[in-house]
């Protein structure tokens, strides 16, 4: 391990994988399994969006559109044209990537609010097309008859096998993302946050990396869409509208976009909240889906006001401070530098 450098640790991945693997043994009911499978799908989207928001400093209010494009590409190609889902996975990744590339050219020139507008508009256009292009998407009632994914004669059906399939992909996505942020490109992206001028002076091509991260995040969303489509027998445009985009946004905001694990935790927490609300809803009358929305809104407000970086980075920085404090108490010299604090 290199001292002072954020780097990849297999420990985190190993612990997390162990949790993921053991979950079905602890909660084997199909309700929990389905929710946990969805949590995996959301994790994939959230990690991508987290990269975009936390590392490229861009906001996307249209992430659900990429998710939808991934889902519909594979649904249409595998059902209407009978292609193998493994083949259509390529399209589910490439189509969002291509659109992100085109949209990215506008993004390179748009800042702040204008960018929010562009992704918002994009999301709405895609949602409308999914709903209205009935000859291809079968419209608002949804596209059905989507085949299952098979591998070496094994069919992944909703339930335990699909849970493991989804989480295998989610883990791959997490590992790839961690690798990215711990590389020269990850540091370049982090540097943009603190000083874009200095980044430029160090030779970091800001626009190029923002574009690449946008494309990656759209591909992750596309992958999630692919997984979603083949899990269910049918999909409908309702899952890919503005509410979806806001849901993903809430996950990243809650967990914290400046850390990959933050996005993961955000996705898991929101999934857990939805389970709790669902369970409570069958006992208490006023807890409805509106209540869930109120809760998400409330979470967003609280987090932005009290923990703007999100849960995980906030906790991490707290732990770090504590560590430094105890280190100072133990007179470990390496950190004795903080004495200069007052001079800054």
């Amino acid at each position: 391990m290199r001292k002072g450098v954020q780097s990849f640790s297999w420990k985190g991945i190993a612990v997390f994988s162990a949790l993921v693997i053991s979950f079905p043994f602890l909660f084997s009911s199909s309700f929990y399994l389905t929710k946990a499978t969805f949590a995996g799908i959301y994790t994939i989207v959230a990690v991508g969006l987290g990269l975009l928001m936390g590392f490229a400093g861009q906001i996307s209010l249209g992430q659900a559109a990429f998710y939808g494009i991934g889902a519909y590409s594979t649904a249409i190609l595998s059902t209407t044209f009978g292609l193998n889902p493994w083949l259509t996975l390529v399209i589910s990744l490439a189509a969002p990537a291509l659109l992100a590339y085109l949209l990215g050219h506008t993004m390179a020139r748009l800042h702040g609010y204008y960018l929010a507008m562009a992704t918002l508009a994009f999301g709405i256009v895609i949602h409308v097309l999914l709903t209205e292009w009935k000859s291809v998407t079968k419209g608002a009632s949804g596209f059905f008859g989507i085949p299952k994914i098979e591998l070496f004669g094994f069919t992944f059906r909703q339930g335990i096998s699909y849970y493991y399939l989804v989480w295998a992909f989610a883990l791959i996505v997490i590992i790839l993302s961690l690798n990215i942020i711990h590389s020269r490109i990850g540091r370049a992206l982090r540097s943009i946050h603190d000083s874009e001028v200095a980044s430029g002076a160090m030779g970091v091509d800001t626009g190029k990396y923002k574009m690449q991260v946008f494309i990656i995040s759209s591909m992750f969303a596309g992958l999630a869409g692919w997984l979603f489509a083949h899990m269910s027998y049918s999909i409908s445009p309702g899952s890919f509208g503005l509410n979806g985009s806001i849901l993903f946004l809430t996950m990243v905001v809650l967990g914290g976009g400046t850390s990959i694990w933050g996005a993961v935790c955000g996705a898991l927490l929101i999934s857990a909240i939805s389970i709790i609300v669902h369970t409570a809803g069958s006992h208490v009358s006023f807890i409805t889906s509106d209540f869930e929305q109120v809760l998400y809104g409330f979470i967003m407000m609280l987090i932005v006001i009290f923990l703007p970086q999100g849960l995980v980075p906030a906790i991490a920085s707290k732990l770090k401070k504590q560590k430094q404090k105890s280190a100072r108490a133990n007179k470990v010299p390496a950190i004795g530098t903080v004495k200069g604090d007052q001079n800054v």
Partner: protein, 292 residues
């Protein structure tokens, strides 16, 4: 020909609403540099509150005024309880904050009023007027009249009164404003109350045409936001032009192509315009970074 006039009229009607909502965005943005994505919820609250007040048996005109006051109070509350607490947040966080506020308000509205659309009586009778072979409902006329009224009143308020001067001082230089005994905090509250009032008026005049429901705010808010971005963020004339333009594009799209894809057409146009002129039609090049 008749068709196109008909489409134009309905486009200008809905465009007037977008314009009022967009002016609400501009009012808040120019004072606080916050983009309030909960703006559409004020419109929804306007329509729904009116419905409830009338149902309580309150006379139409009084209900109208009361609605404006109530929604303004809510706008003030939103600023005081939410926005003010996050001062100094970056644009990204502010967007998230106001989205959170929006879905919070919408969720509460859903729990209070339920999911159904409600009906509000028009201001005056319902008999359509014929102009150049196209028919226009009196309520549409009211919508446009109110839009013009709003523009006039806002113009007067901003250009001719102390309040306007204070607003502008805050937007240009909050520190200097404070030195001149203008409280940016107070102005921020006022700007939220004012634009909530604008939202309420939009909601009131459109209610008889649109059958308000708890979830109407989000789309109206986005359209108003688009209109203000189209016109160039921060420009009031731009907001009005952007709003009317968006309304007309949408109505022509719905009329000549398909009402289902009207949103795709209008937002497609928004995307195109942002591509060609990333700073909007009348915008300055350096706005849009916001929140600074």
């Amino acid at each position: 020909m008749n068709d196109s006039i008909q489409f134009l009229i309905s486009g200008l009607t809905i465009g007037s609403i977008y314009a009022i909502v967009a002016l609400g965005f501009v009012t808040i943005y120019s004072v606080t540099k916050v983009i309030n994505l909960a703006q559409g919820e004020f419109v929804m609250l306007g329509g729904m509150t009116m419905f409830s007040l009338i149902k309580l048996g309150i006379p139409y005109f009084i209900a109208f005024l009361l609605t404006v006051v109530i929604v303004m109070a809510i706008g003030w509350l939103v600023e005081w309880a939410v926005i003010r607490k996050a001062k100094g947040a970056d644009p990204l966080s502010l967007i998230i904050l106001t989205i959170g506020t929006a879905i919070f308000i919408r969720g509460i509205a859903g729990m209070v009023w339920g999911k159904n659309s409600v009906k509000v009586e028009p201001f005056t009778n319902d008999v359509p007027i014929n102009i150049l072979g196209a028919s226009i409902t009196p309520q549409s006329v009211w919508v446009m009249v109110f839009m013009l009224l709003v523009v006039l009143v806002l113009y007067f308020l901003i250009e001719k009164t102390m309040l306007g001067k204070a607003f502008r001082a805050c937007s240009v230089n909050p520190t200097a404003a404070r030195l001149m005994a203008i409280s940016p905090k107070k102005m921020s509250s006022l700007s939220f109350a004012l634009s909530a009032g604008l939202g309420a008026i939009a909601g009131l005049v459109i209610a008889p045409i649109m059958f308000p429901s708890y979830d109407m705010g989000i789309m109206l808010g986005i359209k108003g936001f688009s209109a203000s971005i189209l016109g160039g963020l921060g420009s009031a004339p731009g907001a009005v032009i952007g709003g009317l333009l968006l309304g007309v594009i949408e109505s022509l799209g719905a009329g000549y192509i398909s009402s289902g894809i009207k949103d795709a057409i209008s937002f497609g146009v928004v995307l195109m315009i942002l591509l060609i002129r990333p700073f909007g039609l009348l915008g300055e090049k350096n706005v849009g970074k916001g929140g600074l």
